[in-house]
Amino acid sequence: MDEALLRSLTPSVIGVLVRRGADFAAAEDAVQDALVEAVRVWPADPPRDAKGWLVTAAWRKFLDATRSDTARRRREDLVDEEPAPGPAPGVDDTLQLYFLCSHPSLTASSAVALTLRAVGGLTTRQIARAYLVPEATMAQRISRAKRTVSGVRFDRPGDVATVLRVLYLVFNEGYSGDIDLAAEAIRLTRRLSASIDHPEVAGLLALMLLHHARRSARTTPDGSLVPLAEQDRGRWDTTMIAEGVVILQTALSRDRLGEFQAQAAIAALHADAPTAEETDWVQIVEWYDELALLTDSPVVRLNRAVAVGQADGPRAGLAALAALDDSLPRHTAVAAYLHERDGDLPTAARLYAEAARKAPNLAERDHLTRQAARLNADRRGPAR
């Protein structure tokens, strides 16, 4: 039983049902039922046309469910009279599903859950485990999300930016257990990119690939963070980097810059440097300037201050930092780093410790605590 094949077919089968007039929630339920049947039947009797089989089975499930619902008898008559068309070209349907699953009426967590379920074909249990919540909670989250979008019309494209934001949320969630959400996000973005010609979709795909290529070098086996400058570049996935760079260059050549392309450009400059010292920080600062124009995000300006510190020296970085609100997440960590490079070790040690207390995750907190401890140990002199 090819689970990957089943998962990849799920969205287009849902799309066909919805296009034939099924309500989204009912279509999704019917396709889940059909998948269960496929798992039961296929090992002994594999179909020649997997998608055609699923469409037929799901449509039958949908009709059964509709028939058993007396309140919907009128609609049943309508759909029953309609001749079932053959499988529609799947590409467009899948695209509509991306838009529907990240509809603006959904909260971020609902959109993520619905996308993983309907577009990604993951089971509720898999999604629940990836997000470390009970299966019952995730089931409710998904069914609420389905109810929220059940009245939404399925006939025009939505906002690509919303879809990209949802996919990026999935990517940034990382991974836990048997589902690797970063890989899943890349898979979904790859398929979105195959069905829509949009430079920012390509930009996001390039960004994900360029980040993902460095994943194995980013942490030690025990989970400690390894800063970019100290990563073993031999462990970066050069094939993935090359693919990301090509996708990015094609997107950039169309001259419709967006924030994901700009972020990917920065990631590409990091990936391109044979050593940390050879990083082209001047060009990175220029990309951060572009990015600041596109997003006006304080996080971008904070990252820019780091880049300025590398390009023009720590004093310049501290000056850039001084212009920003010091309540920004990671502001203190950046200040600590720039003070250390400027030679003010007592201030750096104090700020690292403060930044560790404010860190949003365990790996970062431990990393910052170690930085503070390292400077404090140096100042106390050789170990006793």
Binding site: Y131, R214, V306, R365
Partner: protein, 139 residues
């Protein structure tokens, strides 16, 4: 999507506004209080925001290592200063604002006289396991 721990304290938190010990309530008031908490948890399960929750016994022990070959020391000279946790609930919500909103609702559980207790709840964010992959440029 961030997880928060809502902590109920027996001691260590400021006194509730409606601060009458539970054994002074009427049985109906106690039932109403417990029902409120159950309804709250059930509602959060339906919104897809519930993770877990448990009540804890008021009596716990402090334990520490006491040297090679010796049994651990229990309790200690700080019986009066220790904080006691009455129970906890873990929620998974879209924002810190939502966590605060829910803690506020939980704090409105009815107490003596059927009035809200207005007890203080501690809201603590979980540290996430993995750093966001986009932040690695930072030192």
């Amino acid at each position: 999507m961030a997880k928060y721990l809502l902590l109920k304290h027996y001691r260590g938190a400021p006194a509730a506004v409606n601060d009458v010990p539970m054994d002074q309530w009427t049985p109906e008031e106690i039932s109403a209080h417990i029902q409120y908490m159950r309804d709250f948890a059930e509602r959060l399960e339906k919104t897809g925001e519930y993770v877990d929750g448990q009540a804890l016994a008021p009596e716990g022990s402090w334990v520490r290592y006491d040297g090679e070959g010796r049994p651990p020391v229990t309790d200690g000279p700080f019986a009066e200063t220790k904080d006691l946790i009455a129970g906890w609930m873990v929620i998974d919500v879209d924002s810190h604002e939502r966590a605060v909103e829910l803690a506020g609702e939980l704090s409105a559980a009815p107490g003596a006289g059927g009035e809200p207790i207005h007890e203080w709840l501690e809201v603590r964010p979980f540290l996430t396991a993995a750093p966001s992959t986009t932040d690695e440029c930072h030192p």
